[in-house]
Symmetry: C2
Subunit: 281 residues, 2 copies
């Protein structure tokens, strides 16, 4: 397990942590000044018609790209909707490549409208992901499937456990160069009684590792994530298990916190992330 | 799969569905009048010093007991707290027997205060359950372990999937007469990609089956359950899978709905449950 003390160059700030309040140029400057080595931007912050501008600003700040967030939901109520999602996600992959991001995070989408067909909708999502393989390979980008907490199964993601993500990676393996991986976020998986066994299985697929904390009494299932150390997740134990698989990517902080951290001064947020990464993760 | 049309005698009302607004005598009368065969009361509705009074009222209404809700959390911050929980749960088992309930539902508790030790806390809960076996056997009551949605892992239950519940039943099997089973609630498990396989494994252990529905955009993770048919769960498919294992117990409605059904006239709630059980489950 790596020692993160004095090694913020191994750490990444997902821009959601700062509440999407500033331009990517300004954010990159702050993140670099706080000592971090990586930043992961969201699509809303990038002018996708001219991604080279953001890429240049991030490079000029001295940062590398952790990844790019995120796919449009693959689930839709008809074939046209599914095709539109695939087309949009192809464009996101191209932009990720132009930014220099090694991966695009995939949040796959929940049940399609009016559906109760878990199995059919999951298969439709898998088919959508499979259709992206040629673009991923052409661009040299990994699609990092992110299992989301089961709370979001209906409306955000039918990919809900790490074991399922490994199953999907295996199902999507067509024998060609590997282009599908997994983004593991502590917030979504910490509770899973099968987690240790699943991490071992996930070893060849782990592409990203996200941290934050789960508040013991969560006030909002989407936007009440806690700072590392302020919740109940054994983040150090989880990182040890992840790194024992050989994972050597950045440790990325992603905190959605509408009522707390998103109101604070961005430099305070970054300083707290830095301190907690070294002390609690 | 049983046909529920005209067979409300196979169906059960968990009194939580009515919002705990009336005495058990009044509730039993309403539930019987609406045609149901079973009722499952909560401890708060029973005078545990004189459970025979409630038992007589339920019998007089012509109802059977589906079960009794529920255990005190087994998790606590010290040995004295854990012993107190076990003692309290012993009393609940005795009362279940005096009521004539075949089972006590177990909600096992979340992380103990200030703990991040999932594995240790889960083992402490298992030890607490194991200590109840002599009382369960003496009373002829089954402890029905209810896996709760992963959203509640921190504060309500470290038992979070059906697969884990089966693992716990197997771990708690000491070769004596069976006294531990599983209460499967659609609300908690519908999202699980491993559900079909887990139901097959759970066959010898299934003791109770609860229904309600998951609202596509849930407003509160605890108290915003929907009426069957108003959400995204394939309740008929789930009941088919459960009954294919040989399960022949009642289909029990349990709806926590602070802002909707708990405000409605109890007879309207019961009539809606009756109609939806027959049409949507």
């Amino acid at each position: 397990m790596r020692d993160l003390s004095g090694r913020l160059d191994l750490c990444c700030i997902n821009t959601a942590t700062l509440g999407h309040r500033e331009t990517i140029e300004r954010i990159a400057e702050r993140v670099a000044r706080a000592g971090f080595g990586f930043v992961t931007p969201w699509r809303r912050e990038i002018d996708e018609a001219h991604p080279q501008r953001a890429a240049a600003a991030i490079r000029a700040a001295g940062l590398k790209l952790g990844g790019y967030c995120r796919t449009t939901y693959f689930s839709a109520d008809d074939a046209a909707g599914r095709r539109a999602a695939i087309d949009d996600n192809r464009r996101a992959i191209e932009v990720a490549a132009e930014l220099g991001a090694p991966l695009l995070v995939a949040v796959v989408g929940g049940l399609s409208p009016h559906s109760t067909d878990l199995r059919g909708d999951r298969q439709a999502i898998l088919d959508g992901i499979a259709a992206l393989r040629p673009t991923l390979r052409a661009c040299g980008v990994t699609l990092a499937l992110e299992p989301l907490h089961p709370f979001y199964a209906a409306d955000r993601s039918l990919l809900n456990t790490l074991a399922q993500a490994v199953d999907w990676c295996e199902a999507l393996d067509d024998g060609g160069p590997r282009c599908i991986g997994i983004a593991l976020d502590a917030y979504h998986v910490w509770w899973d009684p099968a987690l240790d066994a699943s991490i071992a299985r996930a070893a060849p697929h782990l592409a990203a590792f996200h941290v934050c904390d789960w508040r013991r009494e969560t006030r909002d299932p989407l936007l009440d994530r806690a700072m590392m150390g302020d919740g109940v997740i054994d983040l150090r134990g989880l990182r040890a298990a992840v790194e024992a698989t050989g994972f050597s990517g950045p440790v990325e902080v992603e905190i959605f916190s509408r009522d707390d951290w998103w109101h604070r001064d961005p430099d305070e947020v970054l300083a707290t992330c830095a301190e907690r990464l070294q002390r609690c993760c």
